[in-house]
Amino acid sequence: MSLVHRIAVDAIPSLEVRAWRDELLASRAAGARAITLYGKRHADTVTITAVLQAAGGSLEVSRTTVTVAHGYHELTSAWPALHCFERELHEQTGVRIAGHPWLKPIRFEGQRQAAMDDYPFYKIEGKEVHEVAVGPIHAGVIEPGSFRFMCAGEQVHHLEIHLGYQHRGVEALLLEGDPRHHASLVETIAGDTSVAHTWAYSAALESLAGCTIELPIEVARTVALELERIAMHLASLAGMAGDIGFLQGASTYGRLRTTAINTLMRLCGSRFGRTAVRPGGNGMQLPADLLPEIQASLDLLRTDLALIDERFLTSRTVQHRLRDTGVLSTAQALELGLVGMAARASGVHLDLRALATGAFAALPIEISTQSTGDCFARAQIRIAEIEASLGWLWTTVGQHPAWQRTRAPLPALAPSQLVIAMIEGWRGEVVHCLETGAAGELVHYKVQDPSLRNWMGLAIAVRGNEISDFPICNKSFDLSYCGHDL
């Protein structure tokens, strides 16, 4: 079910910067959306790669090379969805991006590390205005990040999200050693999205190595991916229920999440899908005698979720707290380039699984959208996606009742290629871009968790809400800190 696009580096159109810029904007006008934009620095020049998805679904790559000092004129004002990419590009390469409205570092990596505490937040002045600073350590057992609320009375006028505390240096580590031996590292880019990230990494390597993946392996990987989706959607629902004091929801969704992750552990040995996917194979196994247990778990999830879902969705306390809270309109979601579940909750039809490739070809999965874009919609989307995934899993394990672990070492990687591999993880599309050099060695590795694009969605959704609604808004998006900070 991966979307993989491979192109020889020589074949990538390399344009003069103005022509490149014009072409990007023309593609946008023709209905293309941005997948990623990133740069690589060589001495005093930076090569910028843009990947778009045309309205028809195909991926298009284009490049330009500029000097660091001269740079290019920003695109964000015309195309706000590019803001995070241009900020990251500037942070990672130092290239001048003239006229950019907000070049705040994404994660304060490299030389900028020391400046994180000195960063000047937006200031709003006025008699009724006050600021609330939260983090990086929060009140719960949760990853660190800093939030600065600018409030007028009780209302949030603006939220500035300050991340980077989780920055470890993943992209640099991925360029060390044999690129085929990084599966364990990739699994911890965002440890709650191990399956999706490892699949994107594996799909990219398999394309570079010219290796075809048989359907049984695709099926097993998709089972892991959907179990990961179910488990994390349940974790988010439990968290949202807890945040509004709906404790029956918190404990019941929490209990059922345990069933989901333990099912994944039965298949791959880890509650988080570690080792489920490996380049050229996978670590998932379903011995025939295990099938009844797996089916019983899926059945229990379907039966018991129907009860709590009904209770949750019709409860007055849930509706009162989640409806009209943290609204993100369809127009805003499209403008910001939101992806995945959060985009679908705002009425954007965007899901790589709709391409119906791989294991979804024989048995498509139902894709849901909601129109209201509020916290309730983000809960409803999760409930609908869990139901669709459980139905898909039920039929699939019936049709493929036994599979083996398969480990096949990959041959050497093809030289001078760029490959873009995408997987629809539970938060949204996970994108890995790998480029090989003349000897087949890895020269660039760009990792993109959906959180990079969706954090701004949270910042906008929380505007005009009470500050006390922030925890629910945050949980309803449930974005990754480490996946963003890398």
């Binding site: 989780q166 470890r168 240096g169 965002a190 440890g191 709650d192 080792t275």
Partner: protein, 249 residues
């Protein structure tokens, strides 16, 4: 109507807590490694070569659980079948050097501390700080309070403020950007207090040992009182460890 719906959900929930947290060996779990006394083939270093965290040393074969992420790569690589992962969640120790698994070695164990038992045995408040954790450890630490593990029954609970905490539970390899925040949290905690290193990253840096964004200098001044291995550790690994340390149950 909503009352009936609520009761039906309650009935479906049943009784979920694990009555005796000491007995379960989770089915399918890759836990405590054992190394047999089978001799290695001459010059074979297959297990060490595939280990992603350099957890293995040879002659004699030793496995450092402080680095191990239980990925099973060594098990698959060993032609002699010397290494096996068991479903036993008991892996934690109170001393860093005791995390080394040896050929035919004894079970790892945390020895109960009289002092810890006297001070914290009836009430332990913990503050968690993630410093580069991937949300695997954080989710498993959250799971300690769920309906299955229900750690609160022993008076062991999470608190929001380090001011109220007895233990600082660290996850992640400790990033440079969190260096100051971790120190501030620790400095805010009143004595007596201790640190728990949760997961391979916190114990040794794990997969991120030596990475550009990692700064582990906080641990130069403070030695953890408990090391909980895994990637992420199973909640039962932590449950055994903390109950052993406090001499509870």
């Amino acid at each position: 109507m909503s009352l009936f719906k609520s009761l039906r959900v309650r009935a479906s929930q049943g009784t979920q807590y694990i009555a005796d947290v000491r007995t379960p060996r989770p089915a399918g779990f890759r836990g405590r490694p054992v190394i047999s006394t089978e001799p290695c083939a001459d010059g074979c270093s297959a297990c060490r070569d595939v280990c992603p965290t350099r957890a293995i040393q040879l002659e004699p074969l030793r496995l450092d659980l402080g680095r191990c992420i239980l990925c099973e790569a060594c098990v698959d690589a060993c032609p002699a079948g010397k290494i096996a992962l068991t479903p036993d969640p008991r892996m934690a120790t109170a001393e860093r050097q005791h995390l080394i698994v040896r050929e035919g070695g004894d079970e790892l164990a945390v020895r109960a501390s009289v002092a810890f038992s006297r001070i914290f045995g009836r009430s332990l408040k913990m503050r968690q700080v993630s410093a580069g954790g991937c949300n695997g450890c954080e989710l498993e630490l959250n799971a300690l309070g769920n309906v299955n593990f229900d750690l609160q029954r022993y008076g062991i609970e999470w608190v929001a403020s380090p001011r109220h905490a007895d233990a600082l539970v660290l996850s992640g390899p400790l990033t440079s950007h969190m260096r100051q925040a971790v120190q501030l949290a620790w400095d805010a905690m009143p004595d007596p207090r201790f640190v728990v290193a949760f997961g391979a990253c916190a114990i040794s840096g794990g997969l991120y040992d030596g990475a550009a964004g990692v700064d582990r200098s906080f641990l130069d001044g403070v030695a953890p009182a408990l090391y909980v291995p895994g990637c992420p550790p199973h909640p039962l690994t932590f449950v055994h460890a903390i109950l052993d340390l406090l001499g509870v149950a």
